[in-house]
Structure formats: C-alpha cells, structure tokens
C-alpha cells in the first residue's frame, strides 16, 4: 500500500515536471541557430546585370544595384536599408528585401522571398508600399498574387521569364492570382513583366532561396539532427555495455543479458503486406519532407494530421498537428483555413484512422528504422508487459493535455515536439531546437529498444484513434480459428492485449469479431505473426485486404525445401541410415 502511494506521488511529480518542461521548452534549448538577423548580410554590386537578388548561404547579393533603393520588410512596415551591412538591417526585419530602380519608362524591381529567415509565417511577404508600385507575393508556396499600386491586379496578361530564359504568358484571375507556376519554376528565380500601358513597363525579378539540398547550407541545417543521431548511438552503445556489465554476475539474467550476436542464417524475404507498408512509409517519408520539391506542387489545403513538421515548407501537404497544438491560432484564421483543417481531419480519421500512424507518419518511420536496426544487430530489447503499458498510457494522457492545452497558456508545443528535429532538418531548414531535441534522442533510443515507443504516448495518434469505430479499416478476428497463442500480442508494438484475449464479439459472434482498438495503428504485425488460417485479418470496407495464413507464416521462418541439407550436415548423421 505504502509502495503504491509512493509510486503515485512519484508519477505526479513526473507529470508536473513534464508539463513544466513543456512550458519552458523553448528556453531549454537543444540547439540554437544564430538569429537570422545576425547571420544576414546584404551586398550590393554594380555588375551591369539586370536588377536581381541572389543567395549564397546567409549572404545575399543585389546585382545591378545602380541608383537603387533597397527596402526591407519589417513588422512595422517597409523600411529603407541605408547601408548594406548587417548592423543596419532593421531590428524587426522579416526577411524579405525589395529593390526599385527606375530607368525611363521601365521600372525594374527585385524582390526576395522570406525563406531567407527560415521563418514560418502564414501571411505572404507583402510590402504594399507606395515606393514599390508593382509587386508580386508568393503565398503558401502555391500561387502568386499580383498587386499594382497596392491593389490586386485582375484579368491582365503578364509575361513570366523563367531562369532558363523561356517565356510564358499568363493571365491573372479575379483576385489577381497566378496559379499556373510550378514550384520548381520558381526556385531558379523568375521575372514578371507587366506592361501597364504603352508608356510604362514594370519588370519584377522574384528570387526564392536557391536549392537548399546537398549544399553546405543543408549540411549546417542537418547539424542538430546529426548530433541527435550521434548522441542516440552513444546512448545505445552505453546501454548495451552497461547491461552486460551489470548482469554479468547475475545468475538469471532474464531478458537483460543484452547479448549481441551475428546470425549466419539468411532470412527469406517474402513480398507481402509488410513490403507494401515499407514502400508506402518510405514514399510518404520522402513526400512529407521533399514532396513539393519532387512534384512541384503543394497541397496546402490538406492539413494531414500526422507529426510532419509545419516548419518544413517543402512538404507536399500542410501538417495538421500545428493547429491541434495551437488551437488559439486556428480560430484567428479565416473560415477556409478552419474548414480545410476540420475537413481533412474528418476525412482522414474516417477513411484511414490510425493507418496514418502506421503508414504515413514520418516520426513512425524513423522509429521503425531504429527498430529494424536492432533486429539486424540482434540486440535484446525491453520486454514490455501490461504494467509498463499502463504507465505509458498515463504518460499519453499527460502528453494529450500538453498537446491541446499548451497553446492557451502561452507555450509552444513545437519547441517540445520531437518531430521538429527531423523533417525541417532533412529539407534544409535551419530550425532551432528547444527541448524537442532532447526528446528526439529519447524517442530514438527508446524506439530502438522498444518498437514504436513514441506512438504509445503520441497525443495526435490518440486523437486519430478516437474515431476508430467509424474508420473503414478494421481488424477482424475469428475466435474459433484462433489458438490464442498470443503471438499477436507479442508482435503488437502498441501492446494491445484484447486482440489475444477476446473470445467472443459483443453480440456473441465467434467470427469476424471487430478487435480494432483506438491504439491500433494497422501495421499488420499481428496478422503477419498469426499462424492460423483466417484467424486475423485487416479489412477495408468489410473486404479482407490482409489475411493470416499458416503456410505464409511458416515460410517466414523455414528455409526453402531444397535448403534443408545444411541442417542435416550441421550434425553429421552416420549412426543411422
């Protein structure tokens, strides 16, 4: 009894500590990049080229900058940059520059995107200043809006010159938007030419930051992630050696021997549901990190509810996790945004549910990779039981409270979120990491020893799982075919025990019992490890998509019949025969 009370008190202390840590996550920095302002520098050169900006890491250069005024976008409005030195950049600089040069009846304008600061602002980088008569703004990485004298320019023809010299004529729509441009066209920089009347021609050169992948800049963005991986590896190695040391003298080191081993036996690879899952995971990982770079489009209306970091602007869709953890921000947005958010969520939750966790979530992918690494090394993991899962469930409640509530008390979940360490870094966005960096180390190390450990405490996954009753994917069990061998429970990364213990459906049915729980991520491991024909199946709209099969199960473990010979030769048989 006393022990129980102590445990409860300890847990309460842990819960409060976690909440406090989450609140001050930004101050407990794991890795801090310099302030963009401190890194930034602007050089103006007169090299006779047309007025344009170029990037080189943190240095930005304005070419052909004769008789030009350079403006910087600040929170307070448009500011004039007097000298092209770091110190002289306005203190509330937002990252976008513009330069204007008037040459007779041709007005040349150059403008940069806001990527320079690597900041995330949902609003477009609009100057709307009198000094800049013609302006385009790039919104949501999807469309350009054209402004003339501060008003959207609708239904006019504009010639766009791409970086390779080719020209395109596009027409703006009612609200002044150009939607025909591919994101990859934009990357090299492009010019908009607008002839307002025979007298005046406006040419605007728009530059987003040049390629960020596989450059020195990308490497520096990867630095915190590299550090995380390094520390994780050190932690894992330390753990293995410590366990070996500690349990050396133990007589019964059940599950704690940490025996590392080599296996000479070749594994038979069988294509199946598991292969499909890995392919989908790899694809979605790539798309949720480099998606818009690969495809050239962004589906910003899709607010996919997975832990794909919204700080990464290159992903194919928007991340729904941001509004979940910042509900205060959500209700300041327009109704379209709110509708998109709830619409995507409902569609995803009903159609897919936690399939998103098992197949799409990049953080889940990273955890699975860590798990596979352990499988390849044959290092012993942590064998979890119900007690441990109960604790994890309690931690999940705390995480949920933090996730939904931190926005209201002035904190930012993103500083605490481990997912922020992967996605932006891989896409080349320099993101300073708060406590989330440390958290990511814990996630990698723990998922190395226990598969999908973060998924057990993931608040977003829990919210997605709430609608499992309406979800079209279901896990069905045939209690008569089942021998209750418990392989499914052992295999389940989420520790769902009911799948093994349920013997009868709610209406007393024995076959096609719905054993889907809010925790189920539809990874299919239970079906894969089920040795009984038809005992377990994943169904979509009532149709079986993945079915347990004894012969398939046996093939995972048994060598091909023509390879039985090594077993016979291993211990030579000459006594008999």
């Amino acid at each position: 009894m006393k022990n129980k009370v102590t445990k409860r008190i300890l847990f309460a202390v842990f819960a409060i500590a976690l909440c406090v840590a989450a609140y001050f996550a930004a101050d407990l920095a794991f890795f801090q990049y310099d302030d963009p302002l401190e890194r930034a520098s602007l050089t103006i050169i007169n090299d006779g080229e047309d007025l344009s900006f170029t990037y080189d890491n943190d240095a930005i250069t304005l070419h052909g900058g004769d008789n030009t005024t350079v403006y910087a976008l600040t929170y307070g409005g448009t500011a004039v940059v007097t000298d092209a030195y770091t110190e002289n950049l306005p203190s509330d600089f937002m990252g976008s520059f513009a330069a204007v040069q008037t040459d007779g009846n041709v007005t040349r304008i150059a403008k940069t995107d806001m990527e320079y600061t690597q900041g995330y602002t949902t609003a477009a980088n609009l100057f709307l200043s009198d000094e800049i008569p013609f302006e385009v703004a790039y919104a949501d990485r999807e469309y350009f809006t054209v402004y003339f004298n501060g008003e959207p320019l609708s239904n006019v023809e504009i010639t766009v010159t791409l970086s390779d010299g080719s020209q395109k004529t596009v027409t703006t729509d009612k609200s002044g938007n150009i939607t025909d441009l591919d994101l990859n066209d934009v990357r090299g920089g492009l010019s908009f030419t607008y002839i307002s009347d025979t007298q005046n021609t406006y040419i605007l050169h728009y530059q987003v930051e040049a390629d960020t992948i596989f450059t020195a800049r990308w490497l520096s963005a990867m630095l915190p992630f590299g550090i995380i991986i390094l520390i994780s590896v050190v932690c894992i190695v330390l753990d293995v050696f410590l366990r070996k040391l500690l349990y050396q003298k133990e007589k019964m080191p059940v599950g704690k021997t940490a025996i590392t081993a080599k296996d000479t036996r070749k594994k038979r690879i069988l294509p199946g549901f598991e292969t499909v899952r890995w392919i989908v995971m790899i694809l979605s990982f790539a798309l949720l990190i480099f998606g818009s770079r690969l495809t050239g489009t962004v589906f910003s209306n899709v607010q996919l509810p997975v832990l794909a970091c919204p700080y990464n602007l290159d992903q194919l869709t928007s991340a729904g996790c941001y509004y979940f953890s910042h509900p205060d921000v959500l209700f300041t947005e327009g109704w379209q945004e709110i509708l998109a958010f709830f619409g995507t969520f409902i569609v995803c939750a009903v159609l897919l549910g936690r399939v998103l966790c098992g197949f799409i979530c990049p953080l889940g992918f990273v955890q699975d990779v860590a798990h596979e690494a352990r499988q390849a090394l044959h290092i012993e993991g942590v064998s979890l039981n119900e007690k441990m899962y109960t604790v994890l469930r309690l931690v999940k409640w705390i995480m949920l409270v933090i996730f939904l509530g931190i926005g209201f008390v002035g904190g930012n979940f993103c500083d605490f979120c481990p997912a922020a360490a992967i996605s932006p870094a891989l896409a080349g966005f320099k993101l300073s990491l708060g406590l989330g960096g440390f958290f990511m180390i814990i996630v990698i190390v723990s998922s190395f020893f226990k598969r999908r450990s973060f998924c057990n405490i993931c608040p977003l996954g829990y919210i997605l799982g709430l609608t499992h009753k309406a979800s079209l994917f279901k896990l069905k069990k045939d209690a008569v075919a089942c021998t209750e061998c418990g392989a499914c429970y052992e295999a389940c990364p989420m520790g769902i025990k009911s799948i093994f213990t349920v013997r009868e459906g709610k209406k007393g049915e024995l076959s096609k019992i719905d054993v889907t729980t809010p925790d189920c991520i539809m990874c299919g491991e239970c079906v894969r490890r089920c040795p009984e024909n038809n005992a377990l199946a994943i169904t979509f709209c009532g149709k079986k998509v993945y079915n347990a099969d004894r012969m398939k199960f046996m093939k995972q473990y048994a060598p091909k019949p023509d390879k039985y010979a090594p077993f016979l030769n291993h211990e030579k048989s000459d006594k008999y025969e």
């Binding site: 081993a261 000479t264 089942c482 209750e484 061998c485 392989a487 052992e490 013997r503 046996m554 039985y564």
Partner: protein, 430 residues
Amino acid sequence: MNDYISRQGSAEDRRKARFLNKSSTTAIKYLRKIEDLPHKPDALKPFTDVLKHVFVDMQGAVNPQGVPSVGTYCVMIPPELIYAMGAMPVKLCGGSYTAFNVGDDIAPRDACPLVKAIMGFESIGVMPVYQECQLMAVPITCDCKKKLAGYLAERRNTIALHVPSGRDRDEDMEQYVRELYLFSQKLTEVTDVELSYERLSWACGMTAAAQYELSRFIELRRKYPLAIKGTHYMAAMNAISYTHISLWTRYMHNLCDEIEAKAKRGVMASKENRPRILITGSPIVFPNFKIPLLIEEMGGALVADETCMGERGAYDPPAIVDQSTDGIMRALANKSTRPCTCPTFVDNKRRVYRIMQMLKDYRVQGVIYHVLRGCLVYDYEYQVMEEELGKLGIPIIRIESDYNEEDVEQLRIRIEAFIELIKYGKGSSK
C-alpha cells in the same frame, strides 16, 4: 530369447530379457497391423522404421552421432531450445503395455497408464531410448506428471519445469520464460553449449522446416475424402518423438510429395461414404494404437486428431517477433504454453474452439473422446465438449481404455456402434 530358454543369468536379467521380448512382440504386432492397413504410402516406411528401430530392435533414438538425448514429457518443452543447446529431445511418454504392467506395482492403482508405463520403463531400465537420456525434463502439468518428476529425480538427472496454470496474464508467461532460462542452464551442464542467438536461430530454422512440412501435410490431409489413413499419420507423428528433427523433416517432405502426387492423380486413401471421425482426449502413444486401428478396421475414416502425441505435438510454431536471444526465448515460452490445449490449464475454452475449427476443416461427422483410465483432467472436459458438440449436432462418444488388450473387444463393439450411428442414424447430419 536364448537367455530365457536356457535360464542363464540372474533372475533380474531374465526379467529384463522377458520384458524386452514381450514388449518387442507387442510392438511387432502393432507395426504389422499398421503396415497391413490398405493405402499405405511408400514414404511411410522411414517412420515405421523409426518405431521399429526403437521398439523392436531396441536401439536408441534415431539421431546423428554424438548428440546427447534429453527426455521430455509434454508438449510444453520447446524442442527448439534443446536442439539449440546441442542435444536432441526424445518424447518419452510411454505407450507400452509391458512397461505398464511393471509400473502397475510402483504407481497407485488410479494413476494413469501412461505414467505407469514411464515408471515401468524407468524401473526396469533396459530400453536404450530411455537409458541414453542424459537429462529428464518434466513439465509439471497434471498430478501424475508431478509425482513422476519426483520419482525420476531420485534416479536420474531431472529438471522439473513449472508450467503456469493460467495463461492470460503476462506474469504467467514471464514465469515460464524464467523456467526456460533455468532449463537452458541445466542443458549447458549436460552439453557444454552456451545459450546463444546463433544456435537458437539455427534450431528454430530447423524446427520451422519441420513445421513447414507438417503444415503442408495438414493442408493435404484436409483433402476430401481422405489423403492418408489416420493410423498412418499417427504413426508418422509418433515417430517425431524418437527422430532427430532434420531427418524427420526429410521423411515428411517425401511423404507430402507422395501424397500430393497421388491426390493429383485422384488416388485417395478411403472411399467417400466412410464416416469421418476425429479423435481427441488422452494421448495415443505407440504401441497403444488400438483405438485408431479399431476405427479404421470398423470402416470409419480417422480424419484428424487432437491429441498431444499426434498433430498437437509439433503443431504450434514459435512466432519470433524480436530477433534476439530474449525474443526467441519469449516466443518459445509463448508457443509452449499459450496455444496448448492441455486440460491441465485452468481455462481451456480454446480447446473447444480448436475442435470446432477442426470439425469444419476436416468435415468431421463424429468425435471419439479417448480417456485413459485415471486421466482425470481429460475426463473433466468431456462434459463441456459434449455440451458444445451437442449444439452443433455432432455425435460424441467417450471411450475409456487401459494399457492392455483385454478391452479390445468391448471397444470394438462400442466403436462399431458409434460408426453405424453416424452412417445410418441421425448423426449423419452432414
């Protein structure tokens, strides 16, 4: 034999010779009966040879040179672990009538004949397959096995494995994992082989090959009307107890190939109108094959069995989820206890379900519930089974037998009546 006639040697020696003589005579008789059954596949010969090797030629288990044997008693001992530790498991559950008579003097009257036979073998000490075992592993399942463990421990190097009586709780399984680790340490003392991932993985691959062939065999046996006689496949399943699994795998592979080829040609082991019978209950150990033989002699088709010396003995594969030493140990503990339909467990709903599934898979028309005299746990579950099968309209008969041939005629009448009930009576619902 010569000793017996010329009355040479001491009384003890003569007793032993008499024992060997008698038991080999019984074994020969039953082997001949098995071989005389029609539709015997040619590939069955290695299996009957194994039984002949052990029970007639009085040789040890069929294994490669230098592999020590470990005597095991129930399906709760994972063979994978023993193979991994460089030994070979030999299932010693006895079916010998001669040994039963010897054991009758040692064990109490109401003890089951299976345990009496084991005790008889142990006390007479002549069967090489028993004598060559360097370790006896007895899982504590029923009361008789518990006392057997004590009896063996006085004479032999014995380890008792405490099998949990429930299975749904995690602690039960973890307890059995501990038992298996202890068992592995005991095995290390015998074989000098340390527990390692590589050996475990190798052994699991080897048994997986056997179970793959067994699964193939099961799929083939589901073919209608009958791919192989029940008695024949029971002999094949009994042979696994005395054979190194790598050899057994090869025999089974050939047997499957033969049956498959025959089935393709449409050659079946039985006519269509034979009543299809499933046998469940107490284990049927060679040479105690009277019930399967009677079923087939009386015109029934023994399509399936749910006994631990039959299909059950090697049925459950370990699902290795975590590829590490501990992961495999957990998988082994899991597969040894959780899916087991042994009635010694507190809750055994899964046995009812298992039989229901088999009724469907093999299109069973009648169930023979075999109870060895004194086998209380199986007798208890008869009630449940009768009730459940009554709901499905499948007739079931409880048949009690002992290890002697005196009750054969009585059994014959009962089995014949049961088969006729299925054939002509209300029982032929399908």
